[in-house]
């Protein structure tokens, strides 16, 4: 998948290059960049896609650029227990303040949010994660936390497979095999909840006089819990 997408881009660029040749002006290439951007020459080097490949490690939400290789739930369990469970819990329940793999079931998560009792501690792969390929991206890129980026591709696929199995992601049974074809087909339970910000959502006005006439304010003071200033920030008189 990734390769075909990349070559599609390549084709697009080739077409653009032809247009340039016809124009006979290499600088006429229409970019969306600032038209006032200064022209620079003689600085930097060109680089080939092959040379970039070891760094081209981003896997898109739809599976674009996912690598060859595969992993299984069984293999993932062994790696997880050895390298992940100490922080994320034997059953994905989290430990020592590190994230859970398994949160509340998505319906309960949604109901909690509506009831105003949602908390970060409710969140896991089964409610607050949109796409399986980006889970593979996170694990391969930045896990395990103490040795980031050290899992092989197959190991990363396996851990991805195991944590989705732990979180009871539909379709990820014990025999599920994770690879660049299967991951994009997974529908994460929380996927239906995601919306993109549409703009400012408050509309305060610049009232200057008598803004809350007759209103008694309900004022809550700082609680002592969480008041880290005690003993840390020196309370001083203003000089």
């Amino acid at each position: 998948m990734s390769k075909s997408k990349m070559s599609n881009w390549g084709l697009g660029l080739a077409a653009a290059a032809v247009a340039l040749t016809l124009n006979g002006n290499a600088f006429a290439f229409d970019t969306s960049a600032d038209k006032s951007a200064p022209k620079v020459s003689g600085v930097g080097m060109n680089i080939t896609d092959a040379a970039i490949k070891p760094w081209n490690i981003s896997y898109f939400y739809d599976g674009t650029n996912l690598p060859d290789g595969k992993g299984t739930v069984t293999a993932g369990e062994k790696i997880y227990n050895a390298q992940c469970a100490m922080c994320h819990g034997d059953f994905g329940e989290g430990a020592h303040g590190y994230p859970k793999m398994v949160g509340d079931p998505v319906d309960q998560f949604e109901a909690s949010a509506k009831a105003g009792v949602d908390a970060v501690s409710n969140r896991g792969l089964n409610n607050n994660w949109g796409n399986a390929p980006t889970l593979m991206d996170m694990i391969h890129r930045a896990m395990p936390f103490y040795a980031p980026g050290t899992l092989t591709t197959d190991e990363a696929y396996s851990v991805t497979c195991y944590v989705m199995n732990l979180a009871s992601i539909p379709g990820v049974g014990d025999d599920f095999v994770c690879d660049k074809t299967s991951l994009p087909k997974i529908v994460m339970p929380g996927a239906k909840l995601y919306v993109t910000n549409s703009g400012p959502d408050t509309d305060n006005t610049r009232c200057m006089k008598d803004c809350y006439k007759g209103t008694e304010f309900v004022v809550e003071k700082a609680a002592s819990i969480g008041d880290v200033s005690v003993g840390k920030v020196q309370k001083k008189d203003t000089q």
Partner: protein, 456 residues
């Protein structure tokens, strides 16, 4: 008296406690010393000295008066006075599981301008601060481009440069106050934010060099540290993963973006991404990837871990909001603040900082009665795009209780919301983008407390 002054001294107050014998002596001296300016000085002293105690002990020389000090370069890289040792970044132990993926806070209560000294810039790490060798470091720019390119740090320093002063704010600034009032300190309510003069190469310069395909509507940066953090940034024509257009409000910020190698005139600090970082002014700081090694131009968002799990908002309707990118208009009074006590009745200056990720600050209004009445504060130059703006307002404290607060309006007309307004749309359990009006309560004792007004 300034027409902007709020809670002015009542009529006749200046006449109270007239001329003690000490004051008469002082007046005679003033006249003898400076006949020309005497009238103004005397008048001023007569008012300012009313009701004050008198110092009578003959002055002694300071311990430093009869000694030699340190020679030049005894401190090759200068440090603050030893008496300023309390002015430091601080963290909150219980907030994160460790200090490697954590945050520290800028001590705004001790700062006086809009520039954050580099050693006090807040820190946010996802896999710790690393020491990247600038001689070995490379930046790759690729994807939907005519010609992928690779640059050294020296290459970037040679190119046409761009310098601008902008704030940089973690969207979690104020996060601990969503559910209720908690941190009795300005450092911890607003310290996930700093402001610096940034220097680097404009992103648009690099885009021109590689020839970005006009069909590219997103790009992302990636870091060279353990987190290899990546965030998707929209450009004109961007659509989200559902095919819905990204509002135009968020598709032009990239034009101010730069690849920075300097802050406040010197090299970036390792804590802030040395040797180079991406910086997108106005956007939440998470998108401004530190230790930048790669920029890729694409036609869709990645929807990374950061974008699906972390920097999202669970709304009261049960939905999860993504790509809330701009830090909207915000402000806070930095003096008085809970980190200091009032030192008796009389003259103070209310001071604070205001900022907006949409552009310039247009107005800052200050209230000392919980928001019933407001007075426009003076904006201190410079007033810049996506930059902290300092504001001041004279304040006579008469020893009574006051609920003091500031409210920014930016050049787009957006008015900073109250906490109640914000909670109505985002609920009580949010984490990010809490830009509501901050209220401090001055107690009769002179203590200043962090408070929240629940009902307006």
């Amino acid at each position: 008296m300034s027409e902007n002054m709020i809670n002015p001294v009542p009529e006749g107050a200046n006449k109270a406690g007239v001329a003690s014998s000490d004051r008469r002596k002082f007046l005679r001296k003033s006249v003898a010393l400076a006949a020309g300016g005497a009238a103004i000085a005397a008048t001023s002293a007569a008012n300012a000295g009313d009701g004050l105690k008198t110092w009578t002990t003959p002055l002694k020389n300071e311990p430093t008066r009869h000694m030699l000090g340190r020679g030049v370069v005894s401190v090759p890289y200068g440090l603050p006075s030893k008496y300023e040792s309390g002015v430091v970044r601080r963290n909150v132990g219980w907030l994160t599981a460790d200090t490697i993926a954590s945050i520290s806070f800028t001590p705004w209560q001790d700062l006086h301008g809009i520039i954050t000294p580099n050693g006090l810039h807040f820190e946010r790490y996802h896999a710790g601060a690393v020491d990247v060798d600038p001689a070995e470091h490379r930046l790759v720019v690729h994807g939907m481009v005519k010609q992928p390119m690779i640059f050294t740090v020296e290459d970037l320093k040679r190119m046409p440069s761009h310098t601008a002063i902008h704030f940089l704010e973690c969207p979690a600034n104020g996060a601990m106050e969503w559910r209720g009032v908690q941190m009795d300190s300005l450092q911890f309510t607003h310290g996930m934010m700093s402001c610096s003069e940034w220097t680097g190469v404009k992103l648009t310069t690099l885009m021109e060099m590689v020839g970005v395909d006009p069909k590219s509507t997103w790009f992302y940066g990636e870091g060279a540290d353990g987190s290899a953090l990546q965030r998707s940034i929209p450009m004109e024509g961007a659509h989200d993963q559902h095919g819905k257009p990204i509002p135009a409000l968020y598709t032009s910020h990239y034009r101010d973006a730069m690849v920075c190698y300097a802050m406040n005139g010197e090299a970036l600090r390792p804590e802030n991404g040395y040797p180079i970082r991406l910086f997108v002014p106005g956007f939440e700081a998470n998108v401004s990837t530190k230790y930048l090694r790669r920029l890729m131009f694409v036609d869709k968002p990645l929807v990374t871990y950061q974008e699906t799990k972390h920097y999202i908002e669970v709304l009261p309707n049960g939905m999860i909001r993504q790509f809330d990118l701009v830090n909207e208009a915000n402000s806070v009074i930095t003096s008085p603040c809970p980190d200091f006590k009032m030192n008796g009745k009389g003259t103070y200056e209310i001071r604070g900082i205001a900022w907006s990720g949409y552009g310039k600050v247009k107005h800052v209004d200050v209230s000392i009665d919980g928001g019933k009445n407001w007075t426009e504060a003076k904006l201190v130059e410079p007033v810049l795009n996506k930059c902290l703006t300092k504001f001041t307002l004279p304040f006579e404290w008469d020893g009574s209780e006051n609920l003091i607060m500031s409210r920014t309006t930016d050049e787009t007309g957006y008015v900073q919301p109250t906490l109640k307004q914000l909670r109505e749309v985002r609920g009580f359990n949010s984490i990010y983008h809490k830009n509501s009006i901050q209220v401090w309560k001055i107690e009769k004792t002179g203590e200043v407390k962090n408070v929240q007004i629940e009902n307006v």
